[in-house]
Symmetry: C2
Subunit: 274 residues, 2 copies
Protein backbone atom coordinates (compact mmCIF):
# COMPACT_ATOMS: atom_id res chain seq x y z
CA UNK A 1 0.00 0.00 0.00
CA UNK A 2 0.93 3.50 0.14
CA UNK A 3 1.94 4.16 -3.30
CA UNK A 4 2.87 7.69 -3.13
CA UNK A 5 3.50 8.91 -6.59
CA UNK A 6 4.23 12.15 -5.01
CA UNK A 7 6.55 14.40 -6.61
CA UNK A 8 8.06 11.91 -8.74
CA UNK A 9 8.14 14.57 -11.12
CA UNK A 10 10.93 14.48 -12.63
CA UNK A 11 13.97 13.68 -13.92
CA UNK A 12 15.27 15.80 -16.46
CA UNK A 13 13.14 18.58 -17.39
CA UNK A 14 14.97 18.86 -20.56
CA UNK A 15 17.43 16.44 -21.69
CA UNK A 16 20.86 17.44 -21.26
CA UNK A 17 23.92 16.20 -22.94
CA UNK A 18 25.48 15.48 -19.58
CA UNK A 19 28.40 17.21 -18.22
CA UNK A 20 31.74 16.23 -16.90
CA UNK A 21 31.25 16.19 -13.22
CA UNK A 22 33.61 15.36 -10.49
CA UNK A 23 31.62 13.53 -7.91
CA UNK A 24 30.46 15.59 -4.96
CA UNK A 25 32.10 18.74 -6.06
CA UNK A 26 31.84 20.30 -9.46
CA UNK A 27 28.76 21.98 -10.75
CA UNK A 28 27.18 21.05 -13.95
CA UNK A 29 26.26 24.27 -15.64
CA UNK A 30 23.86 23.72 -18.40
CA UNK A 31 23.25 25.87 -21.32
CA UNK A 32 19.59 26.37 -20.69
CA UNK A 33 18.53 29.77 -19.56
CA UNK A 34 15.53 31.45 -18.03
CA UNK A 35 14.05 34.72 -19.14
CA UNK A 36 13.45 37.62 -16.82
CA UNK A 37 9.72 37.08 -17.06
CA UNK A 38 10.04 33.41 -16.18
CA UNK A 39 12.22 34.30 -13.23
CA UNK A 40 9.67 36.74 -11.91
CA UNK A 41 6.89 34.24 -12.16
CA UNK A 42 9.01 31.63 -10.44
CA UNK A 43 9.39 34.11 -7.60
CA UNK A 44 5.64 34.58 -7.54
CA UNK A 45 6.12 38.16 -8.51
CA UNK A 46 3.48 39.11 -10.97
CA UNK A 47 4.66 41.84 -13.20
CA UNK A 48 2.64 44.99 -13.45
CA UNK A 49 2.22 46.84 -16.70
CA UNK A 50 4.81 49.33 -15.63
CA UNK A 51 7.45 46.67 -15.52
CA UNK A 52 9.57 46.84 -18.58
CA UNK A 53 10.39 43.52 -20.09
CA UNK A 54 14.09 42.95 -19.98
CA UNK A 55 15.69 40.84 -22.66
CA UNK A 56 18.08 39.32 -20.17
CA UNK A 57 18.36 35.62 -19.70
CA UNK A 58 19.72 33.81 -16.67
CA UNK A 59 21.81 30.71 -16.65
CA UNK A 60 20.93 27.59 -14.78
CA UNK A 61 22.89 25.55 -12.31
CA UNK A 62 22.26 21.86 -12.29
CA UNK A 63 23.07 19.89 -9.19
CA UNK A 64 23.01 16.22 -8.53
CA UNK A 65 22.16 14.86 -5.13
CA UNK A 66 24.80 15.83 -2.61
CA UNK A 67 26.29 18.65 -4.65
CA UNK A 68 26.35 22.19 -3.36
CA UNK A 69 25.27 25.43 -4.96
CA UNK A 70 27.72 27.34 -2.79
CA UNK A 71 29.80 26.91 0.30
CA UNK A 72 30.45 28.80 3.47
CA UNK A 73 33.03 31.48 2.91
CA UNK A 74 32.68 31.71 -0.84
CA UNK A 75 32.30 35.20 -2.09
CA UNK A 76 28.69 36.03 -2.76
CA UNK A 77 28.44 36.48 -6.52
CA UNK A 78 24.96 35.26 -7.15
CA UNK A 79 21.70 34.37 -5.54
CA UNK A 80 19.86 31.26 -6.66
CA UNK A 81 16.22 30.59 -7.28
CA UNK A 82 15.06 27.00 -7.09
CA UNK A 83 13.40 25.89 -10.28
CA UNK A 84 13.26 22.21 -9.56
CA UNK A 85 14.31 19.82 -6.82
CA UNK A 86 14.86 20.30 -3.14
CA UNK A 87 17.80 21.35 -1.04
CA UNK A 88 18.87 21.80 2.53
CA UNK A 89 20.56 24.94 3.74
CA UNK A 90 23.08 24.20 6.45
CA UNK A 91 25.54 25.97 8.67
CA UNK A 92 28.31 24.49 10.73
CA UNK A 93 29.01 24.91 14.40
CA UNK A 94 32.44 25.31 15.92
CA UNK A 95 33.00 21.57 15.77
CA UNK A 96 32.12 21.44 12.09
CA UNK A 97 28.88 19.64 12.80
CA UNK A 98 26.21 20.60 10.37
CA UNK A 99 22.95 22.17 11.40
CA UNK A 100 20.06 22.30 9.00
CA UNK A 101 18.70 25.82 8.82
CA UNK A 102 16.12 25.42 6.12
CA UNK A 103 14.75 23.22 3.42
CA UNK A 104 14.22 24.84 0.05
CA UNK A 105 12.01 24.00 -2.84
CA UNK A 106 10.65 25.50 -6.04
CA UNK A 107 10.45 29.26 -5.91
CA UNK A 108 12.75 29.69 -2.95
CA UNK A 109 15.57 32.20 -3.00
CA UNK A 110 18.92 30.96 -1.79
CA UNK A 111 21.96 32.87 -0.67
CA UNK A 112 20.35 36.02 0.68
CA UNK A 113 21.71 35.32 4.14
CA UNK A 114 25.18 36.13 2.85
CA UNK A 115 24.45 39.60 1.49
CA UNK A 116 25.57 41.54 4.52
CA UNK A 117 28.91 39.75 4.63
CA UNK A 118 29.26 39.71 0.87
CA UNK A 119 30.10 36.06 1.38
CA UNK A 120 28.07 32.95 1.89
CA UNK A 121 27.43 32.02 5.49
CA UNK A 122 25.69 28.76 4.73
CA UNK A 123 25.83 25.91 2.26
CA UNK A 124 23.02 24.81 -0.02
CA UNK A 125 23.14 21.07 -0.56
CA UNK A 126 20.94 19.30 -3.09
CA UNK A 127 18.73 16.60 -1.58
CA UNK A 128 17.72 15.49 -5.04
CA UNK A 129 18.73 16.51 -8.49
CA UNK A 130 18.12 20.22 -8.73
CA UNK A 131 17.85 22.97 -11.23
CA UNK A 132 18.56 26.48 -10.02
CA UNK A 133 18.40 29.82 -11.75
CA UNK A 134 21.57 31.80 -11.18
CA UNK A 135 20.95 35.47 -10.49
CA UNK A 136 24.14 37.51 -10.32
CA UNK A 137 23.63 39.88 -7.44
CA UNK A 138 25.03 42.88 -9.35
CA UNK A 139 22.61 42.23 -12.13
CA UNK A 140 19.81 41.87 -9.67
CA UNK A 141 20.57 45.23 -8.16
CA UNK A 142 20.61 46.87 -11.58
CA UNK A 143 17.24 45.40 -12.33
CA UNK A 144 15.73 46.44 -9.06
CA UNK A 145 16.93 49.96 -9.64
CA UNK A 146 14.98 50.13 -12.84
CA UNK A 147 11.96 48.45 -11.31
CA UNK A 148 10.71 49.72 -7.98
CA UNK A 149 8.32 46.82 -7.86
CA UNK A 150 11.16 44.36 -8.03
CA UNK A 151 12.98 46.24 -5.33
CA UNK A 152 9.92 46.05 -3.12
CA UNK A 153 9.56 42.38 -3.93
CA UNK A 154 13.10 41.84 -2.75
CA UNK A 155 12.40 43.60 0.54
CA UNK A 156 9.32 41.46 0.81
CA UNK A 157 11.32 38.34 0.24
CA UNK A 158 13.85 39.12 2.89
CA UNK A 159 11.13 40.24 5.24
CA UNK A 160 9.27 37.01 4.69
CA UNK A 161 12.38 35.06 5.40
CA UNK A 162 12.77 36.85 8.72
CA UNK A 163 9.21 35.92 9.61
CA UNK A 164 9.75 32.33 8.66
CA UNK A 165 12.79 32.13 10.85
CA UNK A 166 10.89 33.66 13.72
CA UNK A 167 8.13 31.19 13.26
CA UNK A 168 10.64 28.40 13.50
CA UNK A 169 12.19 29.92 16.59
CA UNK A 170 8.72 30.02 18.04
CA UNK A 171 8.19 26.37 17.29
CA UNK A 172 11.53 25.46 18.78
CA UNK A 173 10.93 27.32 21.96
CA UNK A 174 7.29 26.78 22.80
CA UNK A 175 6.52 23.35 21.47
CA UNK A 176 7.41 19.83 22.45
CA UNK A 177 9.18 17.59 19.99
CA UNK A 178 6.08 15.82 18.75
CA UNK A 179 4.29 19.07 18.08
CA UNK A 180 7.32 20.36 16.19
CA UNK A 181 7.31 17.34 13.95
CA UNK A 182 3.58 17.67 13.43
CA UNK A 183 3.86 21.30 12.40
CA UNK A 184 6.80 20.58 10.21
CA UNK A 185 4.70 18.11 8.27
CA UNK A 186 1.86 20.58 8.11
CA UNK A 187 4.21 23.19 6.69
CA UNK A 188 5.52 20.82 4.08
CA UNK A 189 1.98 19.93 3.11
CA UNK A 190 0.99 23.56 2.76
CA UNK A 191 4.00 24.40 0.70
CA UNK A 192 3.36 21.47 -1.55
CA UNK A 193 -0.19 22.61 -2.03
CA UNK A 194 0.98 26.11 -2.85
CA UNK A 195 3.13 24.70 -5.61
CA UNK A 196 0.31 22.70 -7.05
CA UNK A 197 1.42 19.34 -5.73
CA UNK A 198 -0.67 17.09 -3.56
CA UNK A 199 -0.97 18.29 0.01
CA UNK A 200 -2.27 14.93 1.13
CA UNK A 201 0.55 12.76 0.04
CA UNK A 202 4.22 13.37 -0.53
CA UNK A 203 7.65 11.98 -0.09
CA UNK A 204 10.08 13.58 2.30
CA UNK A 205 13.40 14.14 0.67
CA UNK A 206 15.42 14.38 3.82
CA UNK A 207 16.52 11.90 6.47
CA UNK A 208 15.16 11.74 10.00
CA UNK A 209 18.45 13.10 11.13
CA UNK A 210 18.10 16.16 8.93
CA UNK A 211 14.58 16.74 10.14
CA UNK A 212 15.86 16.41 13.69
CA UNK A 213 18.63 18.87 13.06
CA UNK A 214 16.16 21.33 11.61
CA UNK A 215 13.72 20.88 14.47
CA UNK A 216 16.26 20.83 17.25
CA UNK A 217 15.81 17.26 18.29
CA UNK A 218 17.28 13.84 17.64
CA UNK A 219 16.52 11.42 14.85
CA UNK A 220 15.11 8.96 17.36
CA UNK A 221 12.66 11.50 18.67
CA UNK A 222 11.57 12.37 15.14
CA UNK A 223 11.01 8.73 14.41
CA UNK A 224 8.99 8.25 17.57
CA UNK A 225 6.95 11.35 16.86
CA UNK A 226 6.09 10.14 13.38
CA UNK A 227 5.08 6.80 14.77
CA UNK A 228 2.98 8.54 17.38
CA UNK A 229 1.24 10.76 14.84
CA UNK A 230 0.48 7.70 12.80
CA UNK A 231 -0.88 5.91 15.83
CA UNK A 232 -3.32 8.68 16.66
CA UNK A 233 -4.44 8.78 13.06
CA UNK A 234 -3.24 12.18 11.93
CA UNK A 235 -0.92 10.81 9.30
CA UNK A 236 0.20 7.60 7.74
CA UNK A 237 3.91 6.98 7.61
CA UNK A 238 5.80 4.55 5.46
CA UNK A 239 9.42 5.42 5.58
CA UNK A 240 9.70 8.72 3.73
CA UNK A 241 6.24 8.54 2.28
CA UNK A 242 3.75 10.57 4.19
CA UNK A 243 0.02 10.73 3.86
CA UNK A 244 -1.69 13.55 5.67
CA UNK A 245 -5.01 12.53 7.17
CA UNK A 246 -5.88 15.56 9.26
CA UNK A 247 -4.02 18.70 8.32
CA UNK A 248 -5.80 21.15 10.64
CA UNK A 249 -5.18 18.90 13.63
CA UNK A 250 -1.54 18.50 12.68
CA UNK A 251 -1.06 22.23 12.48
CA UNK A 252 -2.60 22.79 15.90
CA UNK A 253 -1.36 19.82 17.86
CA UNK A 254 0.42 20.57 21.10
CA UNK A 255 0.97 17.13 22.53
CA UNK A 256 0.19 13.61 21.65
CA UNK A 257 -2.17 12.19 24.23
CA UNK A 258 -0.61 9.34 26.19
CA UNK A 259 -1.33 6.06 24.47
CA UNK A 260 -3.45 4.39 27.11
CA UNK A 261 -5.71 7.35 27.40
CA UNK A 262 -9.03 7.03 25.58
CA UNK A 263 -9.06 9.26 22.57
CA UNK A 264 -11.05 12.42 23.23
CA UNK A 265 -13.95 12.07 20.81
CA UNK A 266 -15.90 8.88 20.34
CA UNK A 267 -13.23 6.94 22.05
CA UNK A 268 -11.64 4.68 19.52
CA UNK A 269 -11.60 1.25 20.95
CA UNK A 270 -8.10 0.74 21.77
CA UNK A 271 -4.72 0.97 20.48
CA UNK A 272 -4.26 -1.84 22.81
CA UNK A 273 -1.25 -2.63 24.78
CA UNK A 274 1.75 -0.57 25.44
Amino acid sequence: MLTVPATTMNQTLFNLPFSTETPEEAHAVRQSTTSYAELLSLLQFHATPSTRVEPIRFQHLRLRRGQRAYRIGHQLESLFVVRFGSLKVISRDDAGEEKVQAFAMKGDLLGADGIHQQAHVSEAVALSDCDLVVVPFRRFRELSRSSPELELAMYGFLSREICRERKISGMLSRLGAEARVARFLAQVAVRHAALGFSEKSFELRMTRQEIGSYLGTTLETVSRALTGLDRIGLIRVDNRNIIILDLPALAKLRRIPPSKCPLPPTAGQNDAAR
Copy 2:
Protein backbone atom coordinates in the same frame (compact mmCIF):
# COMPACT_ATOMS: atom_id res chain seq x y z
CA MET B 1 -8.11 40.54 33.76
CA LEU B 2 -6.64 40.92 30.39
CA THR B 3 -7.65 44.32 29.39
CA VAL B 4 -6.62 44.25 25.84
CA PRO B 5 -7.39 47.60 24.43
CA ALA B 6 -6.46 45.96 21.26
CA THR B 7 -6.27 47.93 18.20
CA THR B 8 -7.03 51.09 19.79
CA MET B 9 -4.33 52.39 17.86
CA ASN B 10 -3.83 55.14 17.24
CA GLN B 11 -4.37 57.92 15.81
CA THR B 12 -1.90 59.32 13.53
CA LEU B 13 1.69 58.86 14.11
CA PHE B 14 2.69 62.03 12.54
CA ASN B 15 2.71 65.40 13.66
CA LEU B 16 0.69 65.82 16.52
CA PRO B 17 2.38 68.19 18.80
CA PHE B 18 1.39 66.23 21.71
CA SER B 19 -1.03 63.51 21.69
CA THR B 20 -3.67 62.77 24.11
CA GLU B 21 -2.11 59.94 25.94
CA THR B 22 -3.87 57.21 27.64
CA PRO B 23 -1.43 55.58 29.92
CA GLU B 24 -0.05 52.41 28.39
CA GLU B 25 -1.43 53.25 25.08
CA ALA B 26 -0.80 56.44 23.29
CA HIS B 27 2.49 57.57 21.90
CA ALA B 28 4.21 60.69 22.92
CA VAL B 29 5.52 62.21 19.76
CA ARG B 30 8.10 64.83 20.39
CA GLN B 31 9.10 67.63 18.18
CA SER B 32 12.74 66.74 17.94
CA THR B 33 13.93 65.45 14.63
CA THR B 34 16.93 63.66 13.21
CA SER B 35 18.72 64.53 10.00
CA TYR B 36 19.35 62.06 7.25
CA ALA B 37 23.04 62.03 8.06
CA GLU B 38 22.38 61.33 11.71
CA LEU B 39 20.05 58.53 10.77
CA LEU B 40 22.66 56.92 8.57
CA SER B 41 25.26 57.07 11.27
CA LEU B 42 22.84 55.60 13.78
CA LEU B 43 22.42 52.72 11.38
CA GLN B 44 26.18 52.34 11.18
CA PHE B 45 26.03 53.21 7.54
CA HIS B 46 28.93 55.40 6.73
CA ALA B 47 28.14 57.61 3.84
CA THR B 48 30.41 57.59 0.87
CA PRO B 49 31.19 60.77 -1.04
CA SER B 50 28.71 59.79 -3.70
CA THR B 51 25.90 59.94 -1.26
CA ARG B 52 24.03 63.13 -1.73
CA VAL B 53 23.08 64.85 1.46
CA GLU B 54 19.36 65.02 1.78
CA PRO B 55 17.80 67.89 3.66
CA ILE B 56 15.13 65.65 5.05
CA ARG B 57 14.53 65.36 8.75
CA PHE B 58 12.83 62.53 10.55
CA GLN B 59 10.52 62.79 13.48
CA HIS B 60 11.01 61.00 16.73
CA LEU B 61 8.75 58.76 18.68
CA ARG B 62 9.09 58.83 22.41
CA LEU B 63 7.92 55.90 24.41
CA ARG B 64 7.61 55.38 28.11
CA ARG B 65 8.09 51.99 29.63
CA GLY B 66 5.36 49.64 28.55
CA GLN B 67 4.26 51.67 25.56
CA ARG B 68 4.38 50.24 22.07
CA ALA B 69 5.80 51.62 18.87
CA TYR B 70 3.35 49.55 16.86
CA ARG B 71 1.01 46.65 17.24
CA ILE B 72 0.24 43.46 15.40
CA GLY B 73 -2.06 44.08 12.49
CA HIS B 74 -1.45 47.79 12.17
CA GLN B 75 -0.71 48.89 8.70
CA LEU B 76 2.98 49.27 8.14
CA GLU B 77 3.56 52.97 7.62
CA SER B 78 6.99 53.39 9.06
CA LEU B 79 10.05 51.59 10.23
CA PHE B 80 11.73 52.68 13.44
CA VAL B 81 15.35 53.05 14.37
CA VAL B 82 16.22 52.92 18.04
CA ARG B 83 18.07 56.00 19.18
CA PHE B 84 17.86 55.42 22.87
CA GLY B 85 16.42 52.87 25.27
CA SER B 86 15.63 49.22 24.87
CA LEU B 87 12.62 47.30 23.68
CA LYS B 88 11.30 43.83 23.26
CA VAL B 89 9.77 42.62 20.04
CA ILE B 90 7.00 40.15 20.67
CA SER B 91 4.52 38.05 18.79
CA ARG B 92 1.49 36.26 20.09
CA ASP B 93 0.52 32.65 19.70
CA ASP B 94 -2.97 31.38 19.07
CA ALA B 95 -3.82 31.71 22.75
CA GLY B 96 -2.64 35.30 22.85
CA GLU B 97 0.37 34.44 24.95
CA GLU B 98 3.31 36.62 24.14
CA LYS B 99 6.57 35.28 22.86
CA VAL B 100 9.67 37.46 22.88
CA GLN B 101 11.28 37.39 19.47
CA ALA B 102 14.04 39.90 19.97
CA PHE B 103 15.44 42.57 22.20
CA ALA B 104 16.34 45.82 20.51
CA MET B 105 18.71 48.58 21.42
CA LYS B 106 20.41 51.58 19.92
CA GLY B 107 20.89 51.29 16.19
CA ASP B 108 18.40 48.52 15.68
CA LEU B 109 15.79 48.68 12.97
CA LEU B 110 12.26 47.77 13.98
CA GLY B 111 9.30 46.80 11.88
CA ALA B 112 11.03 45.22 8.90
CA ASP B 113 9.36 41.91 9.61
CA GLY B 114 6.08 43.43 8.48
CA ILE B 115 7.17 44.60 5.06
CA HIS B 116 5.96 41.60 3.12
CA GLN B 117 2.50 41.80 4.65
CA GLN B 118 2.43 45.56 4.54
CA ALA B 119 1.28 45.24 8.12
CA HIS B 120 3.05 44.70 11.40
CA VAL B 121 3.33 41.11 12.50
CA SER B 122 4.88 41.87 15.86
CA GLU B 123 4.72 44.45 18.62
CA ALA B 124 7.61 46.55 19.84
CA VAL B 125 7.25 47.26 23.55
CA ALA B 126 9.50 49.68 25.41
CA LEU B 127 11.38 48.12 28.32
CA SER B 128 12.57 51.53 29.38
CA ASP B 129 11.94 55.02 28.17
CA CYS B 130 12.82 55.05 24.52
CA ASP B 131 13.49 57.41 21.70
CA LEU B 132 12.93 56.12 18.19
CA VAL B 133 13.46 57.70 14.80
CA VAL B 134 10.41 57.29 12.62
CA VAL B 135 11.23 56.42 9.03
CA PRO B 136 8.19 56.40 6.78
CA PHE B 137 8.66 53.41 4.55
CA ARG B 138 7.62 55.30 1.41
CA ARG B 139 10.18 57.92 2.12
CA PHE B 140 12.75 55.29 2.77
CA ARG B 141 12.13 53.71 -0.60
CA GLU B 142 12.46 57.05 -2.34
CA LEU B 143 15.77 57.60 -0.65
CA SER B 144 17.08 54.18 -1.47
CA ARG B 145 16.16 54.71 -5.08
CA SER B 146 18.38 57.73 -5.24
CA SER B 147 21.15 56.07 -3.30
CA PRO B 148 22.24 52.61 -4.34
CA GLU B 149 24.40 52.44 -1.23
CA LEU B 150 21.42 52.91 0.99
CA GLU B 151 19.55 50.28 -0.93
CA LEU B 152 22.41 47.88 -0.44
CA ALA B 153 22.57 48.80 3.22
CA MET B 154 18.92 47.89 3.54
CA TYR B 155 19.49 44.51 1.94
CA GLY B 156 22.39 44.08 4.31
CA PHE B 157 20.21 44.92 7.27
CA LEU B 158 17.56 42.44 6.38
CA SER B 159 20.16 39.85 5.54
CA ARG B 160 21.82 40.39 8.88
CA GLU B 161 18.52 39.98 10.62
CA ILE B 162 18.01 36.64 8.90
CA CYS B 163 21.42 35.53 10.14
CA ARG B 164 20.67 36.65 13.66
CA GLU B 165 17.47 34.70 13.69
CA ARG B 166 19.25 31.64 12.40
CA LYS B 167 21.84 31.98 15.08
CA ILE B 168 19.12 32.03 17.67
CA SER B 169 17.45 29.02 16.13
CA GLY B 170 20.80 27.31 16.34
CA MET B 171 21.10 28.15 20.01
CA LEU B 172 17.60 26.96 20.69
CA SER B 173 18.07 23.68 18.97
CA ARG B 174 21.58 22.56 19.81
CA LEU B 175 22.17 23.95 23.28
CA GLY B 176 20.94 23.18 26.76
CA ALA B 177 19.22 25.84 28.77
CA GLU B 178 22.27 26.89 30.74
CA ALA B 179 24.34 27.31 27.62
CA ARG B 180 21.59 29.38 26.03
CA VAL B 181 21.55 31.72 28.98
CA ALA B 182 25.33 31.93 28.94
CA ARG B 183 25.41 32.86 25.26
CA PHE B 184 22.60 35.29 25.69
CA LEU B 185 24.66 37.15 28.26
CA ALA B 186 27.70 36.99 26.00
CA GLN B 187 25.68 38.50 23.19
CA VAL B 188 24.40 41.28 25.35
CA ALA B 189 27.93 42.01 26.49
CA VAL B 190 29.23 42.15 22.94
CA ARG B 191 26.44 44.42 21.79
CA HIS B 192 27.04 46.71 24.72
CA ALA B 193 30.70 46.86 23.83
CA ALA B 194 29.87 47.65 20.20
CA LEU B 195 27.83 50.62 21.37
CA GLY B 196 30.60 51.92 23.55
CA PHE B 197 29.14 50.78 26.85
CA SER B 198 30.87 48.54 29.32
CA GLU B 199 30.96 44.92 28.29
CA LYS B 200 31.92 43.83 31.77
CA SER B 201 29.05 45.19 33.69
CA PHE B 202 25.52 46.03 32.77
CA GLU B 203 21.95 45.93 33.88
CA LEU B 204 19.47 43.70 32.17
CA ARG B 205 16.34 45.56 31.27
CA MET B 206 14.10 42.56 30.99
CA THR B 207 12.59 40.12 33.44
CA ARG B 208 13.63 36.48 33.83
CA GLN B 209 10.36 35.60 32.26
CA GLU B 210 11.14 37.62 29.15
CA ILE B 211 14.58 36.10 28.89
CA GLY B 212 13.00 32.69 29.24
CA SER B 213 10.49 33.44 26.54
CA TYR B 214 13.25 34.59 24.23
CA LEU B 215 15.41 31.57 24.95
CA GLY B 216 12.66 29.01 24.91
CA THR B 217 12.74 28.07 28.55
CA THR B 218 11.06 28.97 31.81
CA LEU B 219 11.86 31.78 34.19
CA GLU B 220 12.86 29.25 36.83
CA THR B 221 15.38 27.66 34.54
CA VAL B 222 16.82 31.05 33.64
CA SER B 223 17.15 31.87 37.30
CA ARG B 224 18.87 28.59 38.04
CA ALA B 225 21.19 29.00 35.07
CA LEU B 226 22.24 32.45 36.25
CA THR B 227 22.88 31.10 39.71
CA GLY B 228 24.88 28.26 38.20
CA LEU B 229 26.99 30.57 36.04
CA ASP B 230 27.68 32.66 39.10
CA ARG B 231 28.66 29.58 41.09
CA ILE B 232 31.23 28.46 38.53
CA GLY B 233 32.64 31.94 38.41
CA LEU B 234 31.81 33.07 34.89
CA ILE B 235 29.60 35.92 35.99
CA ARG B 236 28.37 37.68 39.06
CA VAL B 237 24.64 38.13 39.39
CA ASP B 238 22.79 40.53 41.60
CA ASN B 239 19.25 40.67 40.48
CA ARG B 240 19.38 42.41 37.11
CA ASN B 241 22.92 43.59 37.49
CA ILE B 242 25.37 41.39 35.72
CA ILE B 243 29.12 41.41 35.86
CA ILE B 244 30.88 39.37 33.22
CA LEU B 245 33.97 37.65 34.56
CA ASP B 246 34.92 35.41 31.66
CA LEU B 247 33.38 36.38 28.36
CA PRO B 248 35.13 33.84 26.11
CA ALA B 249 34.12 30.99 28.40
CA LEU B 250 30.54 32.24 28.49
CA ALA B 251 30.36 32.34 24.73
CA LYS B 252 31.64 28.80 24.39
CA LEU B 253 30.02 27.04 27.30
CA ARG B 254 28.05 23.94 26.48
CA ARG B 255 27.11 22.68 29.88
CA ILE B 256 27.71 23.55 33.45
CA PRO B 257 29.72 20.76 35.01
CA PRO B 258 27.74 18.98 37.71
CA SER B 259 28.84 20.37 41.02
CA LYS B 260 29.98 17.22 42.78
CA CYS B 261 31.80 15.77 39.81
CA PRO B 262 35.59 16.10 39.79
CA LEU B 263 36.64 18.47 37.06
CA PRO B 264 37.99 16.62 34.04
CA PRO B 265 41.63 17.67 33.93
CA THR B 266 43.92 17.47 36.95
CA ALA B 267 40.98 16.72 39.05
CA GLY B 268 40.42 19.86 41.03
CA GLN B 269 39.99 18.97 44.58
CA ASN B 270 36.64 20.23 45.21
CA ASP B 271 34.21 22.85 44.65
CA ALA B 272 33.18 21.67 47.97
CA ALA B 273 29.74 21.00 49.03
CA ARG B 274 26.70 21.37 46.90
